[in-house]
């Protein structure tokens, strides 16, 4: 770092970029404490909007829906994702490359296409839109992320640990559940966190696959935002940003300690 004491244009540029990224977020957070309904002038500090948020039944209901959908999505995405990663990593099958491309499609397309595709599909089989349809949609776009993360961990695995288990008399299934799955632990934790966040934040796919009873938070926020500014949304957004930040700090910290462990 020879440039440390010099004026560094790259550094200024990066700070500018961060300012651009954070200035709107700071304003949003600041107004969540502003004692005025209009989001225009600063009138004084208040916790009122957080209090109102707590009592805003439609929003709280959507929050419960979102948390429930994200939990179920995470659970099934992990089961399906870990199983298929093991299939891609461990076994050879003539259609494997094609299958992998198929399951990765949601990563490569604009979300709106998955949304309208599933809407048309559920309508065609006369499946009512609601919690189940949203959860199915969420699992579909979360799976590729789980598979990418788990495959990355598997690629660093020593194949002899499975061979050892098999030589000692374990069946392939026992070897998987007793030896491979514990090895995958960190990858499972990061995929769970990422799946949970993706599901909680998703708007576009949910917009097309949700029913009136299963409104999630982003759907409700979109509806309220179209009508106008509302400091309750600022309060809610602040909580969202805080939770996202904490989850990320946890992932970073987790990665850091894991790296240190492998160094020793």
């Amino acid at each position: 770092m020879t440039l440390k004491n010099h004026f560094d244009p790259l550094k200024c540029w990066t700070w500018g970029v961060l300012l651009f990224l954070y200035f709107p977020i700071f304003v949003l957070i600041a107004y969540s404490f502003n004692d005025s309904k209009l989001n225009v002038v600063w009138k004084g500090f208040t916790f009122q909007w957080y209090h109102d948020l707590w009592r805003h039944e439609p929003l709280m209901q959507s929050a419960r829906n979102s948390l429930w959908i994200a939990s179920v999505t995470t659970f099934f995405s992990l089961i399906l994702g870990v199983g298929s990663s093991w299939f891609f990593h461990r076994y050879r099958h003539p259609f494997q490359k094609g299958l992998k491309k198929m399951i990765m499609i949601p990563l490569a397309l604009p979300e709106i296409l998955l949304g309208i595709g599933l809407l048309v599909f559920f309508a065609a089989i006369q499946f009512p839109l609601g919690f189940t349809s949203v959860i199915i949609a969420h699992i579909t776009f979360c799976l590729p992320f789980v598979i990418l993360i788990v495959l990355a961990r598997l690629s660093g695995m020593d194949p002899s640990i499975e061979e050892a288990a098999l030589d000692l008399g374990a069946t392939p299934l026992q070897a998987f559940f007793r030896v491979i799955l514990p090895y995958l632990g960190p990858a499972v934790i990061s995929s769970a966190l990422i799946t949970f966040t993706l599901s909680l934040d998703d708007f576009i796919v949910t917009y097309f696959t949700t029913g009136p009873q299963s409104q999630t938070l982003p759907i409700r926020i979109f509806g309220m935002t179209k009508v106008g500014l509302n400091p309750i949304i600022n309060a809610l957004s602040t909580i969202f940003i805080l939770v996202t930040g904490l989850i990320l700090i946890f992932i970073f910290w987790n990665k850091g300690t894991l790296n240190n462990r492998s160094d020793k």
Partner: protein
Amino acid sequence: MNLSSSKRHWIVLFWGLPMTLWGALFIIAPMALLLGYSFCERDALGQVIWSFTWENYQRVFDPVYLNVFIRSFLFACITTFVCLMVGYPAAYFIARLPKEVRNLYLLLVMIPFWTSFLIRTYAWITLLKSEGVLNAILGALPFSTSLDLLYTPMAVLIGLIYTFLPFMILPIYSCAEKLDLSLVEAGSDLGANPFWNFIHVILPLTWPGIGAGILFVFVPTFGMFAVVDLLGGSQTPLIGNVIQNQFLQARNWPFGSALGVILLVMFFALYAMTHDEEVDER
């Protein structure tokens, strides 16, 4: 492995079948249905009638929709270009930092990346509206001016760039982080000035990150409708808005499907092209 082949067969099925069924049902079948519906007609009530017609595709060439396509393409290109120009230097800078500081910067980029774009778009409404924060700041300047930005194409572009900038920075960062500094040093030792060193050494080495970043920004921008709805009002619909409208308000599913299929084909073509390039490079 001393497993009999029939037993092995069952195990492959056990791990592979659920995923295959899932993909066939919830990825392939929906896409196939879109393709099928795009050739259908609809009755007065908006019900889809199975038939075969090219009408929906002909309608895409109606100047109204052609304009929307061109505008979407233009907006996606501008957004991608600005994100690349703004994001590349920052990504490169972060990647070259010492490890402890680097993670802090990375975290700062990742928080907006993982925060719902709805929330971040909402933040811009506060800033851009005529009695909003931006005009308050501008009004305080000596040459007091004011801008009426909200519900203009400019606001949409700002929103799109703001939403997708982290999607450009992160892939370029992860590519630049692996960059071998000795190659850059070799370049300057051999007499290249910083500009040519960048063109001949750094740029080619970070090319995969740039490619990934362009895809991560261009693809979602093209189908985005929510940012446009919130910041652009109804003045400048993009293709995502038209599709959304055909499915949920106008209830013309066959026409909406035709628009979707065109996007689908476009993106598959895009991937086929970029994939070929990768093979060529090797």
